[in-house]
Amino acid sequence: MKEKRPDPDQLLKVVSKELKQEGRGRLKIFFGACAGVGKTYAMLQAGRQQFEQGVNVTVGIVETHDREETKRLLEGFPQLPLRSIASQGRVIQDFDLDAALSSGANLVLVDELAHANPVESRHAKRWGDVEELLAAGIDVYTTLNVQHLESVADIASGIIGAHVRETVPDRVFDEAVEVVLVDLPPDDLLARLDAGKVSVPVAIEHARQNFFRKGNLISLREIALRRVADRVDADVTSYRVSKSIETVWPTRERLMVCVSAAKTQERLIAEGIRLTQRLQAECLVVHVQEPTDSDDASRECVRSLAQQAEERKAEFINLPGDDVAEALLECARTRNVTKLVLGHGTRPWNPPWRRKLFERIARANPELGILLVAVKPPPRKERYLGRATRPDFHWGSLALATGACALTTLVALWLVHYFDPPNLVALFLLNVVVISLRLGRVAAIWAALLSVASFDFFFIPPLLSFAMSDTQYLFSFTLTLVVAWVTSAVGSRLRADARIALAGERREATVARVARDLSGADKSEQIVAICRETIAPLFEAKVALILPDSTDRLLPSKEGEFADLSVAQWAYDHGQRAGLGTSILSAAEALYLPLKAPIRCRGVLAIQPQNRTSLDSPDDKRLLEACGSSIALALERIHFAQVAQETLVRMEGERMRNSLLSAVSHDLRTPLTAIRGLAETLEQATDLPRNEQTEVASAIRHQAEELQQLVTNLLDLARMQSAGVRLDKQWHPLDEIVGSALYRLGPALSKREVRTELPSDLPLVEVDASLFERVLINLLDNALKYTPPDAKILIGAKAVGPSMYCFVEDNGPGLPPGDPEQFFKPFVRGQKESAISGVGLGLALCRSIIAAHGGTIRAEAAKPAGTRFEIRVPLGSPPGIEEEDAA
C-alpha cells in the first residue's frame, strides 16, 4: 500500500498557523447576517461566562444601542475608559488600544470589528487594533456582520443598495480561532424589529425601510451561512492535513487578474480574489503599462488598484509593454499562472478587424483558463480625458507643422520653375514624413491636410483655387494621408519604446548601483552613508537608517533626527511598514520600512519625502522595496561576517590557550621546584656556612623574579585574549613610556650600556601605556638575557609618514637561524631547553599587544651584528594643545 504522506507545503502552512497562534491571543468572532440578530448579546454572555470562571475579562468597547437587556449584561463587568479623540472639529469617543494593552486583561471584548477608527488612530480600522491585541497575547471576543467581510462587501452592497465602506479582510475572519454564528430567522428578526427590540438610529431610518426587507435578510443570511460553512470546510481541511487523513491533493491554482487603468476595475479585483479564495489559489493582479497611458490620471488609478490588491494580500505587478496580450501571456508563463481573469467590456470600442483581448490570448495559449467578468466600461469623460492628455500632442507641434508646410510650399514655388508639379509631390511627402517622425501623429495629419491643400491651391490648375479637376490628385491626397498615419504610428512607437526602455534602464541602473555600493560595504556606517548619498536623492527625500541595539531597541541617530522612533519601533517589532502612505499611523511624516532579511528584521529605513504624495507610485514603491531588501541583505551579511570573524578569533584564542596551558605548566613548575628545593635546604641544613646561606637565598629570589616575570606575561596575555579586551588608549609621548620601562628594569640594566635615540620633536602616540611598556620591557629583557654582558643596547624611535617606528637593537650574537617569525609564537625559544626560562611568552605577548594597537612587530638582523626588533604603530592625529601664553 502506498503510504499516505501529507503534502509538505500544506503541512507547513498548518504548522505555521499553529505556531503563529502559539503565544498569540485567540480571536473569537460572533458573526451574524445583519444588525439585530443578537451578536453583542451573545458576546457579552460568553464573556460573562468566562468572567465567572475567573478569567480576567475587560470590556474594551460595547455598543449597547440603549438596549436594556444588553445594558443589564454589562453590569458588574470591568470596563476600560474610552479614549476621547478630537477629530475634524469634534470629539469622538473610541476604543483605547493602549489602555487595553496595558490593562493586564486576558480577554478583551471589542464590539464591531469593522468599525473605522478616526484618522488620528494608530490603525485605520478597528480590526487593526484587534490584531495588535492578539499579537500581544490577549484573547479577543468581537462581533461582525457578514456584509463587512471584504469578499462579500460588493455583493452585499448590491443587495442592500448602499456602498459598504467598513470592511474587514477575509484573512482576519479565516484566522480567527472560533467563529460563532449568531442566527435568527428573518421572520423572527422582523418581529423583533417591529417590537422595537432592534434599535436603529434615526439617521438611518430610511435605510431601515430598504435594509430590513425580507428578501434582503434572506440573501444576507444565506451568504453568512455559506461563509461559515466555508470556514468549517477549511477547518476540516487543516485538520486533515495535520492528521494526514486525506489522500487527494488539489494541484495549486494560480490566478492572474488582468486589470486596465480604470476605477471600475476594482470590482474585477474583488471578484478575482473571491474566486481565489474559493479555489484556495494564489492571486496575482497584473496591469500592463502601455506607453500611451502614462499620464497622471491613469497612474493614480493604477496606484489605487495596486493598493487594493495588496491590501487583500494579492501580489500586484505593473508590467511595462506595448502589446497587452503578449505581456500578459509572458507573465502568465513565467509565473505559472493557470487561469486568467479578464474584464469584459473594458475596451468599449473595438474595431471589427481587431480581435478582442481574450480571443488573442485564447488563440496564443489554448491551455490557459480564461474567466471573463462583466465590467462596466469607464464613463466616456474619463476616456476622453485620457486621450486629450496623450503625451505625443501639444499645440506647439501644430504651429511647427504649419510653419514647415509654409516653408515647403515656398521652396516648391521656387522649384516649380525647374520641375513639373507632380514631381514636387515628393517634396511635400518628405515634409509630412519628417513631421510625423518628429512631432507625432496629430501634427502629421495636420501637415498632410495642409500639404494637400496647399499643393492643390498653388500647383494644380486652376491655380490659386481649391477646385479639384483631376481625380488622380485625390489618389495622391489619400496616399499622403496614409503615409502620414503610418510613419507617425511607427515614430510614436519608437519614441515610446525608447521612453519605457529609458525609464526601466534608469530604475535598473539605480538598483544596480545601490546593490553594487552595498556589496562593497563592510561596516554598517557605510550603509548609513549609502542611504544618505544614493537613496535619498533618488526619492528626493530624507532617508535614515535606524538600527537596533542588542536588546532590539532602535537607537536614535544623527541622520534619523526627523524620524519618529516610536513609529519606527512599531514597524521594527511588527515587521510591517508603517507611517506615511500605509494604513498604520498614517498621519506620520515619514514612511518606515522594516528591513526584513531572511533571518530576521535588521532595522528600519525611514523615508521622509519632500512632497507627501511622492512615494505613492507603484514604481517608486517597488524601487524602495528593492533598495530596502538590498540594505537588509547587506546588513545581515555584515552581521554574519562579524559573527564569523568573532568566532574565528575565539577559536584561534582557544587553540592558543590550549597549547599555552601545556607549555606553561612546564615553565611554572621549573622555578617552583627550584624554590621549594632551595627553601627546604635552608630549613634543614642549619649548619650551612653563612655565605652559602646567602647564595641559596639569592637563588630563591632569582627564581621568584623569573616566576614573577612569567606570571605577569601570562596574565597580560590572558587579558589580551579575553573577550572584549578594552585598550586604555591615550596620547603619550613615547619617551615617557621608554623612560618608565627603563626605570622599571633599573637594577638589571645598570650594568649595561643602554643608549636612547628619541628625537625631541617626536609626535604623541595613542597607545595603552602599560601594555606598550610591557612590550618594551619584554624586548629589553630579551636583549639582556640573550646577549653577553658587554653587548650594547639601543632603543629609539622615529616617525615616518603615517607610522611611528620604535626599535630595540643590540649588537649581540644575533638571531638563531630560521624564520624570525617563529619566535612570536608562544613557547618557541631560540635555543631549545635553554637554561634561561620565562621568555617563551614574551614575544607572543608583544605581538598580540602591538596587533591590538593596529601595528606590527618584526625581528631582523641588525647591522653590522646583533638583533633588531622593530615595532610599527599608526600615528593617527594627536589632539591639539592650546598654546601657552608667553611667559
Binding site: 596574565l715 591615550q730 609621548p733 619617551d735 613610556i737 627603563l742 626605570y743 636612547t756 632603543i795 611667559a887
Partner: protein, 235 residues
C-alpha cells in the same frame, strides 16, 4: 629622633612577617593590624609615624580607611596593591595615600619608599620653617623667586611648567595623580585631558633631566601619575 613606629595593615601573615623583619632591621618599631577595624583602633591609639596599608582587606576597603584617616591625620600612608588594579591605586592616591607599591615587591624597594616618606614627613614638620629652596640633582628651584637653575645655569620655564614643577616639589616625593596635577595646575575643566600633562611633563624632562629618556628625578608612574625623586632641601 626616636625609633619611628610603623603600622602594618595587611591580612596575609607572611607578608606582615617579612615587612616587619625588614623594618625592624632598619631600626624601626612596628605594629601589626590584620583588618581595617584593627587599623582604625591602632592608628588612633598608637599614633604611628607611617602606615603601610594593603588595599584588599577582608573586612573592607583600604581606600575607605585612608579617607577616614585623612579626616584627622596627615601621617604618611604607603599603599600595597596588586598589579591588575591600576584604577584602585589611583583612587587610593586620590583618597590621600602618599605612595604605592605593587605586589610582588622587593624589600629594598619597600625600605626606600618608607624612608622617603619618613623624610618627607620630617620636612613638612610645621615646627621647622619651610625653606623656599629645593634641590634635586644639580637642579635648584627657588619657590619664592621662581628662579630655576641647572648646574648653575638659569633654565627658562614657562608659567605652566613652573606651576607643574612647584606642584611636584610641594609633594616632596609624594606620587601625585594625573587628576591632582591637572586640577592644581590647569583647573577643573582640564581634568579629562591627561595628554596636556604628559606634553608639559615631557618639556620639563627635556629642560631639567640630563637624559630625558632615562629620568632620575621627574619619575613617571605610568597610568598613575608623577613624583619628584631624590629631593634634598636647603639653600
Amino acid at each position: 629622633m626616636s625609633k619611628p613606629q610603623i603600622l602594618i595593615v595587611e591580612d596575609e601573615a607572611d607578608i606582615r612577617r617579612f615587612v616587619r623583619i625588614a623594618l625592624e632591621k632598619e631600626g624601626m618599631t612596628t605594629a601589626e593590624a590584620k583588618s581595617a577595624e584593627e587599623a582604625r583602633i591602632d592608628s588612633a591609639t598608637r599614633r604611628p609615624e607611617l602606615i603601610i596599608v594593603d588595599l584588599g582587606l577582608p573586612d573592607g576597603d583600604g581606600k575607605a580607611f585612608i579617607r577616614e584617616l585623612r579626616t584627622w591625620s596627615n601621617i604618611p600612608v604607603v599603599v600595597l596593591s596588586a598589579r591588575e588594579r591600576e584604577e584602585e591605586k589611583v583612587e587610593a592616591l586620590d583618597a590621600g595615600a602618599d605612595d604605592y607599591l605593587t605586589k610582588p615587591f622587593g624589600v629594598p624597594e619597600l625600605l626606600a619608599r618608607v624612608r622617603a616618606q619618613l623624610r618627607r614627613a620630617a620636612l613638612l614638620n610645621p615646627n621647622q620653617p619651610a625653606s623656599p629652596v629645593i634641590r634635586f640633582g644639580n637642579v635648584r628651584v627657588d619657590m619664592a623667586t621662581h628662579e630655576v637653575t641647572k648646574a648653575d645655569e638659569v633654565v627658562h620655564l614657562t608659567p605652566i611648567e613652573f606651576r607643574l614643577l612647584a606642584a611636584l616639589a610641594r609633594g616632596h616625593g609624594k606620587v601625585l595623580t594625573h587628576r591632582q596635577l591637572l586640577l592644581e595646575v590647569w583647573g577643573p575643566s582640564y581634568v579629562y585631558r591627561p595628554h596636556y600633562l604628559r606634553v608639559f611633563m615631557a618639556n620639563l624632562r627635556q629642560k631639567l633631566e640630563d637624559e630625558p629618556a632615562r629620568p632620575k628625578h621627574i619619575i613617571t608612574e605610568l597610568q598613575v601619575g608623577y613624583r619628584l625623586a631624590c629631593l634634598s632641601d636647603g639653600p
